[in-house]
């Protein structure tokens, strides 16, 4: 237990890095995922094909392999960024595919009448998607979206293997340094992760009730 208390500050730094990685990647991945979902339902066949290809390729690739391409291949293209930025890129690119699928299932769950009404008053595809369909779609997929955020939070741990000193990296470091207190150190880090994931799950339930569309 002392090992955890003595290193509370180190833990806090790791926790903050994990949190920052989670928040930045969530924002980017959600934006990219929404764009991909819009592409996949658009009237332009080229965009539909591009969106589908992206999702199929990324969904079947392990996140670790995506990290490999970000960390080892981008520098070959003279793109030199910090490990944190590489991690943000890898995590965002990977989870955008899952956000896309969640948003798309939301779009499919909006009643046909809504889109028909939007079209009949003369809205274009972009307008009807932006003003009518997406606002309702997001409300129906709050739980799946939050579930992807929870998965993303957990997956940021992989950044530990690629130079980012976040919670998991801190945990292994401390565990290697204090072999007599390994259990307490892993326990402390587990509590940190559960604090993030279980809170998100709890918030998801409350948010879902608040934004639910009465149908």
């Amino acid at each position: 237990m002392d090992a955890v208390l003595d290193n509370l500050d180190t833990f806090r730094q790791g926790f903050v890095t994990t949190l920052a990685l989670t928040v930045v990647s969530t924002v980017l991945a959600l934006a990219l995922g929404t764009l991909l979902a819009a592409m996949r339902v658009s009237p332009v066949p080229t965009l539909r094909a591009a969106g589908t290809t992206y999702v199929e390729v990324v969904r079947n690739t392990p996140l670790t392999v995506v990290f490999f391409f970000a960390v080892f291949v981008l520098p070959q293209l003279d793109i030199l960024l910090s490990f944190f930025t590489f991690a943000v890129i890898a995590v965002s690119v990977y989870h955008a595919a899952f956000f896309c699928e969640a948003v798309r299932s939301g779009i499919n769950s909006v009643g046909v009448g809504q889109a028909e009404a939007a079209r009949s008053i003369g809205l274009t595809f972009t307008q009807s998607l932006r003003l009518v369909v997406l606002p309702q779609a997001f409300r129906t997929v709050v739980p799946p979206l939050i579930n992807v955020v929870i998965a993303l939070t957990k997956n940021t741990s992989i950044a530990a293997a690629f130079g980012v000193v976040e919670l998991t990296a801190i945990t292994t470091r401390l565990a290697n340094g204090n072999s007599d207190a390994v259990l307490a150190i892993f326990g402390g880090s587990a509590v940190c992760y559960l604090a993030l994931t279980l809170t998100s799950g709890f918030l998801a339930g409350r948010l879902e009730r608040r934004v639910a569309v009465a149908r």
């Binding site: 909006v110 889109a115 390994v182």
Partner: protein
């Protein structure tokens, strides 16, 4: 909602605009790729010889061994996770609280923790407690703990999705609760959850790549070792080959899952849907 209701059928002008836009978009993408290729070519990364490495027997044999190690860990972890997951589902469905509550806690705990943390705990934590464990078993153990929680929930959802009449009919002919579950509910539930189980198998297969972190010699680790031996310029061909291998195996499994899903839904009207989140993990 069928997606076609979002827009009118495109007319001749729209089709022309789409064509022009598509061509412009493709040209733009080709330009960006061209710049990337030019940069790589300037470094000599794209010389034919770099890609010819992929035809070398010893590299292919190495990657083949890595793939076998990946599939071996995935298959064993899947079997174990299904066994533990089955027990968890039965425990959570049980009326006995001393069974249902711990099983629920197990599920919440292992679904809420990063898989990598669990694997690292088995790998670093257990030796500290005096139990040595090989990288293979640390990976398989971590995958089993995590996936048993997810698969347990798939099993439970499958059983709960069956019509109530099945249980009532089983009780009416005098079966006990355990018998009802074993003889009536599970055989029907398995059909409904088979697609979800296969998608979870894809996730599990992807997660074996975490073995890389604890230096278990799976596909990714053997590839990394090869690149460290050959040198950085060979990273793109080797990693592309690895990604292609993963995508080939996983895409065929995903295809199988979708085909089964469609077939099951046609026959039984429903299936257990895997959540996007469990697939992302």
């Amino acid at each position: 909602m069928s997606e076609a209701v979002l827009y009118d059928a495109t007319g001749p002008r729209g089709r022309r605009r789409i064509l022009i836009g598509s061509v412009a978009g493709v040209v733009l993408v080709v330009l960006v790729l061209g710049v990337a290729v030019a940069r790589l070519a300037a470094k000599g990364v794209l010389e034919g010889e770099r890609w010819q490495i992929l035809t070398r027997g010893d590299l292919l044999e190495l990657l083949g061994r890595g793939l076998v190690a990946t599939l071996r860990a995935a298959a064993l972890a899947m079997v174990l996770a299904m066994a533990v997951g089955g027990l968890l589902a039965v425990a959570r469905l049980s009326r006995r609280r001393w069974l249902a509550v711990p099983a629920g806690a197990w599920v919440e705990l292992f679904r809420g923790l990063p898989l990598l943390l669990v694997i690292l705990f088995l790998f670093l934590g257990l030796p500290a407690a005096g139990v040595t464990i090989s990288t293979f078993w640390a990976l398989v153990g971590g995958l089993t703990l995590y996936n048993s929680a997810v698969i347990g929930e798939i099993f439970r959802a499958g059983v709960l999705s069956l019509p109530k009449g099945q249980t009532e009919a089983a009780y009416a002919v005098g079966l006990r609760r355990g018998q009802t579950l074993r003889l009536i509910l599970l055989p029907q539930a398995v059909r409904l959850m088979l697609p979800a189980l296969i998608s979870q198998g894809v996730t599990l297969l992807k997660d074996t790549s975490l073995g890389f972190v604890i230096a278990y010699a799976e596909l990714l680790r053997t590839g990394r070792n090869a690149v460290e031996f050959l040198g950085g310029p060979y990273s793109i061909p080797v990693y592309t080959a690895i990604a292609a291998l993963y995508i080939a195996v996983n895409a065929s499994l995903s295809f199988l899952a979708r085909w089964l899903d469609r077939r099951t839904r046609r026959r039984y009207g429903r299936t257990v849907q895997p959540s996007a989140a469990d697939e992302a993990a």
